[in-house]
């Protein structure tokens, strides 16, 4: 819908044009680092985001995802390495780059002293957009995020999900080439999360390039065409969610709980023979196997009596566990 709007001040670059005339990534980081004093938040990462794709940084809190996003958003100078965003250098063209980005920050920065409507219009004014354009665009954006009936409300009475949707609408007010979403659904209840996801799918279908961070593996699987897994400031692997799962995990996983520590310990040697490998967590034992049901019946035949058995498909959580030895939400 608004991909057809002209972006004043900037030649309107349709995403398809970018990939046809100037093939190549919209964002490239090479050996990118970020330090705060002695603390190294990002320790030399390489990545590329292609036009039109939905690209994710998946990792636990403190992995360096937000620091990376802030560098891409040109609000945090690089400590080292190279970064190109939309063909420009953030060190030189920060304002020009920001003019073509949409940002949905992790912590809301909505203007609580303004109404929903004024939040959008005033934000559009920060981009130098004329009021006449904003009148129609903000109305469409409010309808897009299903907040048209709250247009004259202040921000405070809105629920967390509504605020996040308003943040998304605000991030779209300049018709950005790239939308940066930092933990877009953290802190939302499941229903609100699905509403946000649904809006983000629609934007993907319109060809808006999205870069997002998340520590929810489900969100990463749902939203990302491709992602990198980050841990302690480094990228540990990258690929499409299904590729990563196929590469680092088996098709299925059997989750077992045992009535006591002693039962569990005695079961471990036999479980190791059961699948390709096992992971022992605080409360559960995970058995990785291409055929979970077969593993379960084999286990029962072997006389093992876990207190609960769950067979599920492998997820990015398993990939993360395998790559780092830790769980994502630890």
């Amino acid at each position: 819908m608004w991909k057809t709007w002209p972006a004043p001040g900037v030649a309107p670059v349709a995403l398809s044009d970018v990939s046809e005339s100037r093939p190549g990534p919209v964002i490239t980081g090479s050996d990118l680092t970020k330090s705060f004093g002695a603390h190294q938040a990002v320790r030399g990462i390489d990545f590329e985001v292609e036009a039109g794709e939905s690209f994710g940084f998946l990792g636990p809190n403190g992995a360096g995802k937000t620091s990376t996003m802030r560098m891409i958003g040109c609000v945090s100078p690089l400590s080292g390495g190279e970064l190109r965003v939309l063909g420009m250098d953030p060190r030189v063209d920060g304002a020009k780059i920001r003019a073509r980005l949409g940002v949905v920050p992790q912590e809301d920065t909505l203007d609580t002293e303004l109404t929903v409507w004024d939040n959008l219009v005033i934000y559009g004014r920060y981009f130098g957009l004329p009021r006449s354009l904003l009148r129609s665009r903000c109305q469409e954006l409010l309808e897009f995020v299903q907040l048209a009936d709250r247009r004259d409300s202040l921000v405070d009475p809105l629920s967390g999900g509504m605020r996040r949707r308003l943040s998304i609408a605000r991030g779209l007010v300049n018709d950005p080439d790239v939308l940066l979403l930092d933990e877009p659904t953290t802190g939302l209840d499941p229903q609100a999360r699905h509403l946000v996801w649904e809006r983000l799918y629609q934007l993907q279908n319109r060809g808006v390039t999205q870069v997002l961070t998340t520590h929810y593996m489900e969100e990463a699987e749902q939203l990302c065409d491709r992602l990198v897994i980050m841990d302690e400031g480094r990228i540990v692997d990258e690929g499409a969610p299904a590729e990563l799962i196929a590469k680092h995990s088996t098709r299925e996983v059997v989750e077992l709980r045992f009535p006591s520590e002693a039962d569990r310990r005695s079961a471990l040697p036999r479980l190791e023979a059961l699948g390709e490998r096992i992971e022992v967590l605080a409360e559960r034992v995970l058995v990785y196997s291409s055929d979970g049901e077969a593993a379960v019946s084999w286990m029962h035949g072997d006389g093992l009596e876990p207190s609960s058995v769950l067979v599920r498909r492998s997820t990015l959580e398993d990939v993360f566990l395998h790559l780092t030895g830790r769980s994502l939400n630890e």
Partner: protein, 258 residues
């Protein structure tokens, strides 16, 4: 967008907010200074004039009017440059939102200070008009008290905003109001000439930006004052503004874009 346009966009946001909340500032920005003028200028001034005849050759009301003007704009500028800065950087994080757009830290800082200046133009105009009706303004130069008041206000707004951006909490803001702003309010030639201070204290008054502001406002509303002295006061206030702004852009950058 030019740098000036960007400052204008921040001002636009501030004025949009002000349209919603202006009622809350009517008392502190408009009525309180006028109540001071009535109580001190007319009430106390009557006693002063009866016992000593005049202050520096002026009736007490005429003497104290520019002092009250400068002192009240200092208070407005200070209040606007401590807690609202903390709100922008930490409490509401509105400055972070602005920074995700083409606006840079200089525009955010400049927009804030410019908005304070606009507020001061409004409130000092009202104050001067009422003071003129009450007989506190005796010179045709009086409209120049408005730019003098703006200089005074910004000389507080710029360095205090620069300082506020370095703070993680507002713990020091109350003490600044009590231990810095209040003494300046009382001892910067506002209510009595600094010559009344003990002789060892008098040179210290020159360190108070408010004293320079009061002298400028007084020159405008009374028509008395020498050109070289006026020039020095203007230069001192401009120097404070320049230094405060240079530091402010740095502290804003450190806080908002580390």
């Amino acid at each position: 967008m030019t740098a000036l346009t960007m400052v204008g966009r921040v001002v636009e946001r501030q004025s949009r907010v002000y349209r919603r909340v202006w009622r809350g500032s009517v008392f502190s920005a408009f009525l309180a200074p006028l109540m001071f003028l009535a109580a001190i200028g007319l009430g106390l001034g009557g006693l002063v004039d009866k016992s000593s005849g005049e202050v520096d050759g002026l009736s007490y009301l005429v003497f104290v009017t520019p002092g009250l003007l400068a002192a009240s704009v200092m208070q407005t500028a200070t209040g606007e440059s401590l807690w609202p800065i903390m709100a922008g950087t930490k409490w509401l994080r509105t400055f972070h939102g602005m920074l995700a757009t083409p606006l840079g830290v200089a525009a955010i800082f400049g927009g804030h200070v410019t908005w304070v200046a606009i507020r001061i133009i409004l409130s000092s105009s009202v104050f001067l008009a009422v003071a003129a009706l009450l007989g506190g303004v005796v010179s045709a130069w009086a409209p120049l008290a408005i730019p003098a008041a703006v200089l005074t206000a910004v000389a507080f707004a710029a360095p205090l905003s620069a300082y506020a951006a370095t703070q993680d909490t507002d713990l020091t803001f109350g003490p600044i109001m009590r231990l810095v702003v209040q003494p300046l309010f009382l001892f910067s030639g506002t209510f009595f000439p600094v010559e009344q201070l003990p002789s060892w204290l008098q040179p210290l008054a020159a360190l108070s930006p408010l004293w320079h502001g009061v002298e400028l406002c007084r020159a405008a509303t009374t028509g008395q004052g020498s050109a070289p002295a006026i020039l020095v006061h203007v230069l001192v206030l401009l120097a404070v503004i320049a230094a405060g702004s240079a530091v402010g852009v740095r502290t804003f950058k450190r806080r908002l874009a580390p």
